[in-house]
Symmetry: C2
Subunit: 559 residues, 2 copies
């Protein structure tokens, strides 16, 4: 296993990349279909998805996971590895991923491009500014903010109530000191004083909108209806009302074009968009997924967090809005994470513990059942770590086989696509089974019932408690004609419940809905079950402290 000793960054830097034009040609694109951004990145042309509309779609494979733990599951790594395995077996395959955010890169993670021999490249560029999409979203969002505060300052014709402005500002950084601020201080020349705050850019509704729009016109339409504030008469004030939709759309013109890159093994990948997985739906852009379906026979994509949040939203929000038909779902689990869900502490994961492992498997079973509810055939991918014992691995595999659950081991981290070939076999079996995908609830189900259905069927809750304020807001949404929108649950990813400390397959619990935030531009109603931090903080020793460029030009400190 000498290979695995190399760091992600070393593997990335030692890979010889092919010119992006070759990758584009491989998926049937002509020169007019894209623009290169440097040698190894390209942006697809405006309207390419529309031009390809009459082509048949490839098969859509979603990679999701059990609830994440501090042990790490490797969902992105499996997504990249599965795409590479398909490519290696001579199938026309593409990967669709989300764009990394600079905040976590500079904070804890140092990067988000998969790992080992299953990475998307050039990881240094993808992890840093990539093609500027995140910055364009920051600009568009803050232009709306500046126009809003300027409206207040210049006479406030719309009678915006400064106490009821819901549109915060954004930066693509982890910066806790900006969570709660006061602005407009310093006197009459410097704006109207009010409370405000910054979210991280990926939490912007602009990001969610970009990821669900199907054309520039749709993008502008969605942006224009975003509610940014309420008037003194409690009437909603939209982006259109403050005359900011045109400029914001213009600022997003290039960002709306999906980005083409390649993996360590030259498999084509579209990396585009990356909304938060709590207050938003946590999937890459619809336009990238649609384009990939037209350009390839198999599209492998992922959704944020575990299956209870990521897959649920992929099915109920993205697939519904985008009219997608998922053909198979891969559920990533690891021995380590299963043991944590079975009660083992993080510092004892190296020890073999079969009873905890079996305990943790109950959570996996819950997620397999959930995939059944959506009618999408599932495959469990046991993502191998070097610390797993043979008997632990066999326990998982046999446990699955006894229950007729498709399962395959993944060794894509250490072996690249070759380590995902048995997973491909299982995925093909799942696809053969013919997905009967259908969302969990119809659009016309009342909003409270939509939330209850998700909580009961997906989380396994006994019921939902709506706090008074949330209930009132849901009624208001219904009155305003928003009752047909899907629900976007904001819940801790670490547990099926709304308590992050409750691991494993918990049952008989109640989900508490504390707050409702309509995201009218994106087209969903956010239901918050707890305090969601939309601006992360940096840790004691941030990854940024040890990043840099050495004298010979080599980048260090990313991972």
């Amino acid at each position: 296993m000498e290979k695995t000793i190399r760091s992600d960054l070393e593997i990335a830097q030692q890979t010889t990349l092919r010119p992006i034009s070759e990758i584009a040609k491989q998926v049937g694109l002509t020169d007019a279909d894209y623009d290169t951004y440097g040698k190894y990145k390209a942006k697809l042309a405006d309207g390419l998805a529309e031009r390809l509309a009459t082509k048949a779609d490839g098969k859509l494979i979603l990679v999701t996971a059990i609830n994440p733990t501090a042990a790490g599951e490797g969902k992105s790594t499996v997504t990249v590895g599965l795409g590479q395995a398909l490519h290696r077996l001579n199938h026309k395959a593409m990967i669709c991923l989300r764009e990394p955010s600079l905040g976590p890169t500079m904070g804890l993670k140092g990067g988000a491009c998969g790992g080992g021999y299953s990475q998307v490249l050039p990881m240094e560029e993808i992890n840093l500014h990539f093609t500027g999409d995140m910055h364009a979203i920051t600009s568009a969002h803050n232009t709306i903010s500046a126009l809003l505060d300027n409206h207040l300052h210049q006479g406030n014709d719309l009678r915006i109530d400064p106490r009821r402005i819901t549109w915060k500002r954004v930066l693509d950084l982890n910066d806790r000191a900006l969570r709660n601020i006061t602005i407009g201080l310093g006197g009459a020349a410097h704006g109207i004083p009010r409370q405000d705050g910054f979210d991280i850019t990926v939490a912007s509704e602009i990001m969610a909108v970009l990821c669900l729009a199907d054309s520039i016109a749709d993008l502008e339409e969605r942006i224009s209806r975003i509610v940014v504030a309420y008037s003194y008469e409690q009437q909603p004030i939209t982006v259109k009302d403050i005359q900011a939709s045109g400029a914001a759309t213009l600022l997003l013109k290039e960002a709306f074009r999906p980005n083409l890159v390649q993996t360590v093994e030259g498999t084509p990948a579209l990396i585009h968009g990356g909304p938060f997985a709590n207050i938003a739906h946590g999937c890459n852009s619809l336009i990238a997924t649609r384009t990939a379906l037209k350009l390839s026979d198999y599209v492998v994509t992922e959704a944020g967090f575990g299956a209870d949040l990521g897959a649920e939203k992929f099915f109920n929000i993205k697939s519904r809005i985008g009219d997608l038909h998922p053909d198979a779902v891969v559920l990533v689990a690891t021995v380590r994470a299963l043991k944590m869900h079975g009660g083992v502490a993080k510092n004892q994961l190296a020890e073999e513990n079969l009873s905890a492992l079996v305990e943790g498997l109950a959570l996996l079973e819950k997620h397999v059942e959930t995939m059944d509810l959506f009618g999408v055939p599932a495959v469990v991918a046991l993502n191998r770590f070097s610390s797993d014992t043979d008997i632990e691995r066999q326990t998982v595999l046999e446990w699955c086989r006894e229950r007729k659950i498709r399962v395959a081991e993944s060794e894509v981290f250490s072996q690249g696509g070759a380590g995902g070939e048995t997973l491909v076999e299982q995925v093909f079996e799942a696809i053969e089974e013919d997905s009967q995908f259908t969302p969990l609830y119809p659009a016309d189900l009342p909003l409270t019932q939509k939330i209850e259905r998700i909580a009961k069927r997906v989380y396994g809750a006994a019921g939902v408690h709506f706090e008074e304020k949330a209930l009132r807001e849901l009624e208001r949404c219904t009155e305003q004609g928003l009752g047909h929108l899907p629900i976007c649950m904001a819940k801790t990813p670490f547990s099926l419940t709304d308590d992050p400390s409750k691991y494993g397959r918990v049952e008989g619990f109640t989900i508490t809905v504390r707050e409702i935030r309509p995201a009218i531009g994106a087209g969903f109603i956010v239901a918050l079950t707890g305090n969601v931090l939309t601006m992360p903080g940096l840790p004691k020793t941030p990854a940024a402290n040890t990043m840099g460029i050495s004298e010979d030009g080599t980048i260090f400190g990313l991972s």
Copy 2:
């Protein structure tokens, strides 16, 4: 004059651009020397300037102007037009410009790429996100901020005094409500409460540093010594102290590479960097200018504001630090602006007024004298507007000829390069004269005397009044070994004096220096003569209100 009725944006959109690879080839670049960013933009390769170091330099022509007025002078337009004229006459010429900032684009100006038939293209992309340099600077700057506030929050080992943090945050927007803010509110989990504020990105010292560094290593070295705060013991805290220099440099890796584009007539242009012209030196990057000098026989570049600020800093700061030898200077004036400096109100500029014109010419004469002080041969470019009467134009031309001042009319706005051919003749005469360029003061002159020399010789002041606080800070700079640095004057551009309402050639006035800010990373000492607004506001009706993309994909609202 049917041509001139078309808007800047229409002209830009109706121009057929050549692939940027052709433009690159024209200046002798091979494929390895650049990366394309879309079809019409390229970034030069890392270290290209160093590889070209042994080549001889071309001639360096600086375009500056009389003090700007609300009437508009067209300095960028003349810069582009002169480059086009040289190119048209089959000379190897390149243009070096600053990158536009989104703030003014969204606010008043709607763009900053020259005008009419003398524009750099693709103006829509250059005006919006271009190749992301401005966003990279925003990210690098705010990463330093986040690391600083995180240091405070995580125990403050460096004993940073939260009342003495000099490093504000930045955004590339006009947003007055962010000038004065309080951050870190909301309780112990959300940082340390303190006063803060946002500047516009171009006012960041990171921007000034990027524009004066000659290599990535020098960039990191300069960033590392930037002072961001003082400790409780009043010791300076640098970017290096908070371990942020590596990450900030890494975030600027691509932004440090100059951007190649073309003009309406296919003349190659490098557009790179764009620091404020008040608290910074207001010129495009040194690395772009140096590279252009190696790649062409004539480089036409500009500096911000009028000659009293822009040219002075170009000579005393940029040329000194970068060891440049300016060969000629073009002083742009217009009949309209001269009349304003002669006392005519803006709404009466359409009327012929010869006595006011002659009055205004005294200001032009002052700037010509100043160029003489630096030993650089000057040419006056009378930039024509359609409202100018023949007798007004003749008055200016004759006035110059009587004083043996080289002068030529410029019609580059309406005619492109063809309208700049007589200007080329005069510029060639100036170059023939052999510039005896030398900075106005030696490095070892005491700081107060440097300021006095600029005020007396360049502005024509009778003297300088240093406020107590400024004097103390200058002494502190000298004690800290910073006495050898050049001065960067922050003064109103509208007047030779520090009072923006005093037009024309004022004499016998006193300049008041109120505050001193050492910019140790950039390598100059900023002397502020008044309140400088480092975060502009939006006007009553911002340009952004009427921008957008039409149904057929055409952009509107930029200019």
